[in-house]
């Protein structure tokens, strides 16, 4: 079994299709919705944690792509300019998911994308503006 977080983007015309139902029913994938933005007639976004066998996940993702739903690993959607980071800690103050934490030994910032729920609070919290999250476009 594998567990991984993905960002899904739906084309405007796909709002009436039960994709998550098919992921569960046809591919035996456990889904956990971490964040959703659905606007009738517009592109929608969904952050999902998918859990299943390697084959099932592969097939489920292929099914989404066949239906024009893009599906990319969450960590590819977040960029943190680590080189410029001064490890001040401001982002850890707002990251209640625990994805951004100070290393208790060297006090440098650690980012664990697997814990990120794309709340985006870190983006304005960083005084050096080092986070970019590509959730919508």
């Amino acid at each position: 079994m594998q567990k991984k977080r993905y960002v899904l983007k739906f084309p405007p015309q796909s709002g009436d299709q039960p994709f998550s139902y098919h992921l569960v029913k046809d591919f035996d994938i456990r889904i956990n919705i971490l964040r959703a933005e659905v606007w009738p007639g517009k592109t929608g976004s969904l952050v999902l944690e998918l859990e299943g066998t390697s084959d099932n996940l592969k097939q489920g993702i292929a099914y989404l792509k066949e239906n024009q739903v893009s599906c990319e690993p969450l960590n590819k959607k977040i960029t943190w300019n680590e080189k410029r980071c001064i490890s001040c800690g401001n982002c850890t103050a707002v990251c209640f998911a625990g994805a951004l934490q100070m290393d208790p030994v060297n006090w440098e910032l650690q980012f664990d994308s697997e814990k990120c729920i794309v709340c985006e609070l870190c983006v304005p919290a960083c005084p050096l503006n080092l986070f970019k999250i590509d959730f919508r476009e």
Binding site: I86, G89, N90, T92, P124, P127, N129
Partner: protein
């Protein structure tokens, strides 16, 4: 017999490459098994450091005279307003200055761009005088074209600072970071047992003329900082339990590095400047050895509610608790986060240690010590002055 060393004796050892230098964190560890007398005997200098956002910072710049010359009476650097009331071509660019149209780029960013050698657009206006006939200039300046650029920060290196929480139902955007509603986070700022003025709480070795590490080069303490306050309550270890003393510091900005001076923008607050400061403390005697041995659990600070006007105090915690990731305030467990960089502060303390060990940085006896009985005044609202009545 109790140890008593002089500044000159320690400098002699530094010149010979024999001085024993430890960081404040190292000496705190040593103190777990060594007495202040033993520390005073073995250790000559302790390095302290901090790297935090310090809003009361800025730079003096002299542009040189153009031909024909201009008496600059309004000045913009990359669109950021700089002070125009200093002769013809001197200015002071404050770290927090900004053009309200472009609030995310301010004086601190101009200072960082200057350090990094980037070109800056200078635009200035004057009324035109007999000796300064020009009325307008728009040109490019950088580190190489200007005569002097001097970092002069009126209030840096606060001795301790409050912990910030927010009890309201809305997010609060502050210089202590973004505070989640219902006290769901708490932010703290100083480097604790590594922080300069917490290692010399009575400022027995830090005063006017103290040579320090500032922004990547050598600088000096030139005055007590603004809002210098010695009347805050102290705990049993002699440490004030909220923000108290401060330092005014100066140094050559041309020699500084953006590794130790970083512009910052806080959402819905404004621009500030992260300043790296390192201060060596000479271990002249056992008294000073005891001060520099202070540990995080002995340094306490006050938790203040930034959601309520007047930021009322809610409790007291120590830095060991703050660094553990969780504090308890009024029976509620709150997640903590730093807003100043301990990893950078450690880097500065280590760098300063190496500079002293290699004989490149000597300690200085202050020319004058700081006042010991200051307190703070607040700004009172008074009725406006009535203009004098015109005579008959």
């Amino acid at each position: 017999m109790s140890i008593q060393k002089t500044y000159e004796e320690i400098n002699e050892k530094i010149r010979r490459g024999e001085a024993v230098v430890l960081t404040a964190e190292e000496v705190s560890q040593m103190a777990l098994t060594a007495s202040p007398e033993e520390i005073a005997e073995k250790v000559d200098v302790v390095t302290t450091a901090t790297f935090g956002a310090m809003c009361s910072s800025g730079a003096i710049v002299n542009f040189g005279h153009a031909n024909p010359p201009i008496r600059m009476e309004k000045i913009r650097l990359n669109g950021v307003p700089a002070y125009e009331g200093l002769a013809a071509v001197d200015t002071y660019i404050g770290a927090t200055a900004c053009d309200p149209e472009n609030p995310k780029y301010g004086g601190a960013h101009v200072i960082q761009d200057l350090i990094e050698g980037k070109d800056i657009e200078l635009e200035a206006w004057g009324k035109g005088t007999d000796c300064y006939p020009r009325k307008h200039i728009k040109t490019i300046i950088n580190k190489e074209t200007v005569n002097e650029m001097i970092l002069f920060n009126p209030r840096n290196a606060y001795q301790n600072y409050n912990v910030a929480v927010n009890s309201t139902a809305q997010m609060k955007y502050t210089y202590m970071g973004n505070l989640l509603p219902h006290m769901r986070n708490a932010t703290y700022s100083t480097s604790g047992e590594l922080s300069p003025l917490l290692n010399d709480p009575e400022m027995k070795t830090i005063g006017i003329g103290t040579r320090i590490f500032l922004g990547g080069t050598q600088g000096f303490v030139v005055w007590p900082g603004t809002q210098f306050n010695t009347s805050k309550p102290k705990n049993e270890h002699g440490v004030p339990v909220s923000n108290s003393a401060t330092l005014a510091v100066i140094g050559n900005l041309k020699e500084m590095s953006s590794e130790f001076l970083q512009a910052a923008y806080y959402e819905k607050y404004g621009v500030s400047l992260f300043v790296g400061i390192g201060i060596p403390i000479p271990v002249l005697n056992a008294d000073i050895a005891k001060c520099v041995s202070i540990r995080n659990e002995q340094i306490e600070t006050t938790v203040c509610d930034y959601g309520v006007p007047g930021t009322p105090a809610l409790g007291r915690v120590n830095y060991a608790q703050l660094r553990s990731g969780e504090i308890e305030v009024q029976g509620k467990k709150i997640r903590t986060a730093p807003v100043s960089s301990l990893s950078k502060a450690r880097k500065i303390a280590d760098l300063l240690k190496k500079l002293i060990q290699s004989g490149e940085f000597e300690i200085t006896k202050p020319i004058q010590m700081f006042p010991t009985n200051t307190s703070l005044k607040s700004l009172k609202e008074q009725p406006p002055l009535t203009p004098p009545k015109e005579g008959n």
